[in-house]
Amino acid sequence: MSTKLRILVPVKRVIDYAVKPRVKSDKSGVETNGVKHSMNPFDELSIEEATRMREKKLPVEEIVAISAGPAKCADTLRTAMAMGADRSIHVDVAEDKPLEPLTVAKLLKSVAEKEKSNLIFLGKQAIDDDSGQTGQMLAALLGWPQATQAAKVELNGEEVTVTREVDGGTETIKAKLPMIITTDLRLNEPRYASLPNIMKAKKKKLEKKSLKDYGLEEAFRLKTIQVTEPPQRQGGGKVEDVDGMIAKFKELGVL
């Protein structure tokens, strides 16, 4: 008899991967107004993996997606539900004051306790702030085993075997549920949230919550001092002939 899986999948709404981010003129951050947003690509892998577990007839009882952010996060959660989540929770957070990884981890801890989750799939990092901390912090707060950067996940009763991406190869580890897994690129190929599925997802439940419902407050430990664009790439130059090239080399001190 194996335990029923209650999977929690936190997702983040980020600036779409195809958009080139622009830094605000006062250097306080990246412009998010009027910019296309979508689900963090690593979180798509998490949802997909949870959905595939169910399709493999593993004892998945429920897949819950959660997101903390402005009202538009609801769209991201709809996408998550179109991809396979059963219901979702939206924790309302002001757009101009995004949560720090630690607060997110604390929030997820109390959500996981409330929802009685025993498996949490997180993206290994978000493509906006690239912190890559939430999964690890959450594992520490809950005292659960963690497997980060998963490339393959196998479940056998209570036991989970995870192949991880590490420098120069892979590492295979085994742990018992409950467990935290963060996903890496090779784990699977996320499905496309098609129009009919998005329409169906509109019937699924989306709960609205606030940080207070989980006994938390916004706490900021970090202060952004300045955000700047990366230096512009210096373009190459064309030379007319061999002499020109030699002259250029001499100028640069190569010859």
């Binding site: 195809a18 493509i127 496309y192 098609s194 129009l195 009919p196």
Partner: protein, 86 residues
């Protein structure tokens, strides 16, 4: 209009699905929409049910191709950004 309403419904549905997908087309919705419209209009004269079914199949195929295109584009740019070795 003598074609069966069921087929007509199917055609409209797949058109809507493709239209929705076009919103994230790399070259932009403004590029995608007129071309999609043209592709469907060019087949509007079809009366033979078998021919229409073939057309729907082709649209399904294009849908899969676009899905694959989106996936690969995303996967490749992620890989480029986040795999440091090599």
């Amino acid at each position: 209009m003598s074609t069966s309403p069921a087929l007509r419904y199917q055609v409209i549905n797949i058109y809507k699905e493709l239209l929705e997908m076009g919103k994230s087309y790399p070259l932009g919705y403004d590029y995608f929409r007129p071309r999609l419209h043209k592709a469907f209009m060019s087949q509007a004269h079809l009366k033979d049910e078998e021919k229409i079914k073939e057309g729907i199949k082709r649209a399904e195929y294009v849908k899969k191709e676009i899905e694959a295109l989106y996936y690969l584009k995303k996967y490749r740019s992620m890989k480029q950004r986040y795999s440091s070795n090599q």
